[in-house]
């Protein structure tokens, strides 16, 4: 701070507290709702202070789910989400680091073409090619499977670019020294590049894990069996029921459980998260 202005300092804190309040309030209300009984949501105003039914609501959603909404127990959907997010994050990192390595450390015909083919995927998010992608996955018999949930989302231009940028900053001498010492390309990759990329990999994992966790449209399309529902899409089924039959207490218990894992990841790994976020967008 350049100078001390008590009034402005007070105002600064006021703005930030108001900002935090706005950001937190919807989640606070959801949490409160998840601690009440069914009858508190029939009319009037949704409760603003905690109620007595917390343990009961969470236990019920965790073990049974809401059968009227056709959603499986929450533990099952959380497991699917976790599996999907981890497979997507790890898969994207593996195939991206390999392709960035090929593009930076080798010269071969069609190198530029390969680069542009990867680049162009940035312009083709799932949302703009819904129908034909669904058809490909259906033709390959990958509907209602973990492969169908994850493999089509694994290609990653941003991760490839991030690794490419990083590899370009690694001194050429390292590779030359390794070659003089007789190391082949895979040995150089495993013993020198991978250890150097550790922080980048970790930062990218945080971002990609969240990317995988929050997927909604894709699981909605490729899963029809409730065994494969992820928590994020399962919640939509629950909420659709809550519109007519206000099981808000149960829906919000599931909402809290769905938000918890990725939020914990961000808060516990905040430094890596910010690094990953700022660098993938460069």
């Amino acid at each position: 701070m350049v100078e001390d202005r008590p009034l402005l300092n007070f105002l600064t804190h006021l703005v930030l507290i108001a900002g935090v309040a706005i950001v937190v309030f919807p989640v606070y209300l959801a949490f409160i709702a998840s601690t009440h009984g069914y009858s508190d949501f029939l009319s009037g105003l949704a409760p603003l202070l905690p109620g007595p039914n917390m343990v009961e609501n969470y236990t019920r959603m965790w073990t049974e789910g809401l059968s009227t909404a056709g959603a499986p127990p929450v533990w099952r959907m959380l497991g699917n989400s976790l599996l999907m997010a981890v497979i997507i994050a790890v898969g994207k990192i593996i195939i991206s680091i390999l392709s960035a390595y090929a593009i930076v450390y080798f010269k071969f015909p069609f190198r530029l073409l390969a680069f542009w083919m990867i680049f162009i995927t940035l312009m083709l998010p799932v949302e703009v090619r819904i129908m034909p992608t669904f058809k490909v996955v259906a033709d390959l018999g990958m509907l209602n499977s973990y492969a169908g949930l994850t493999i089509p989302l694994i290609a990653s231009a941003t991760a490839t670019f991030l690794f490419r940028q990083f590899f370009l900053t690694i001194p050429d001498e390292l590779m030359e020294a390794a070659r003089v010492d007789g190391a082949g390309p895979m040995k150089f990759f495993r013993d020198i590049l991978l250890p150097l990329s550790r922080t980048n990999i970790a930062a990218l994992f945080v971002i990609l894990f969240i990317y995988g966790w929050v997927q909604y449209l894709w699981p909605l399309l490729v899963t029809t069996q409730s065994d494969y529902y992820t928590i994020v899409m399962g919640i939509k089924r629950l909420a659709a029921v809550a519109d007519s039959d206000p099981y808000w207490n149960l829906v919000m218990a599931a909402v809290m459980l769905a938000m918890l894992p990725p939020i914990l990841v961000i808060i516990l790994m905040q430094r890596l998260f910010i690094k990953g976020l700022v660098e993938t967008e460069k």
Binding site: V15, L16, A46, M131, Y216, P262
Partner: protein, 294 residues
């Protein structure tokens, strides 16, 4: 394109390294996109038995459709609303955090986590708050004489999804604004302070102009986000209604393709969307190249 001064001599290995990425890209990105382009020029008969090549007729019909133009208009209103609301709130919060030394970290932690909330969950959270029967916001609005019911009122439905989408994006914009502000040279700020410029004057004449690359970058990212990453928010709250008031382009592609099963029109819409993302991506990358010279 850039590569290393010396490279490995292997001929086959690079192709093997690229194979998984390229296989997925071709099977799930390029091939479907090509299919979309192809069927946007075709018409299928009602039984799906034969297709005929119809040139640009799907496109001309699309732009003659009042619903499509309406959806285009709704997407623009939505994207502009989300971008302005989210960026201005984030800029204010970032400027505030940037004034603080130690406590700034705590506020940052408390502000960044909505990034991890899935769009559909964000939609449900705000839908609950704005629920016409039991939500707290309609309850308060009632006192000032506003009757809130986004199930019937299209403008209110739009306001709801703009708020939900902007809420989720605050953390992202906030982090980039803070990073941008931290790279403004201290010496400039101190020199201005010595010359007698107050904190507000310093912000508007030094910090904000120097932030313009960040602001422009975030503008593109936010428009992109509002156009393409908000399917969950809309599906979780209004499902495009009432009367198409929140039927954005992405939602319409889904609704027409999966619920309406109109392949030709849906493909033409997909191709239009690809052109929009393509344009945004090109702008973003051109700008990134320029930022390097800053």
């Amino acid at each position: 394109m850039q590569s290393k001064r010396t490279v490995f001599p292997n001929k086959l290995l690079p192709y093997l390294l690229l194979a998984p990425q390229l296989a997925i890209t071709i099977a799930f990105f390029l091939w479907p996109a090509a299919q979309a382009v192809k069927s946007s020029f075709e018409r299928e008969d009602p039984f799906g038995l034969s297709t005929t090549f119809v040139w640009f007729r799907n496109y001309t019909r699309l732009f003659a459709e009042p619903e499509y133009l309406h959806s285009l208009n709704r997407s623009l209103v939505f994207a502009i609303g989300v971008t302005i609301l989210s960026m201005s709130v984030s800029l204010l919060l970032a400027a505030a955090v940037n004034r603080l030394l130690r406590s700034g970290k705590i506020y940052t932690t408390l502000l960044v986590w909505p990034y991890a909330v899935a769009p559909v969950v964000a939609g449900i959270l705000w839908w609950f708050m704005f629920n016409p029967t039991i939500g707290i916001v309609p309850y308060i609005l009632d006192y000032i004489g506003v009757r809130w019911n986004h199930r019937v009122n299209g403008d209110q439905a739009m306001i709801l999804i703009v708020i939900a989408a902007a809420w989720k994006q605050i953390s992202y914009n906030f982090l980039f604004f803070v990073a941008g502000m931290q790279s403004v040279p201290r010496s400039l700020i101190e020199a201005a302070a010595i010359d007698g410029a107050g904190p507000f004057k310093r912000f508007w004449t030094i910090v904000f102009p120097l932030l313009s690359p960040t602001t422009f970058f975030l503008m593109i990212i936010n428009i992109n986000y509002a156009m393409f990453d908000t399917f969950g928010i809309i599906d979780g709250t209004t499902a495009g209604g009432p009367a198409g008031a929140t039927n954005t382009l992405v939602y319409k592609v889904y609704a027409d393709g999966f619920l309406g099963l109109n392949i030709g029109s849906s493909s033409a819409q997909s191709v239009m969307l690809m052109l929009i993302v393509g344009l945004l991506t090109v702008i973003q990358f051109r700008y990134v190249e320029r930022r390097v010279q800053y």
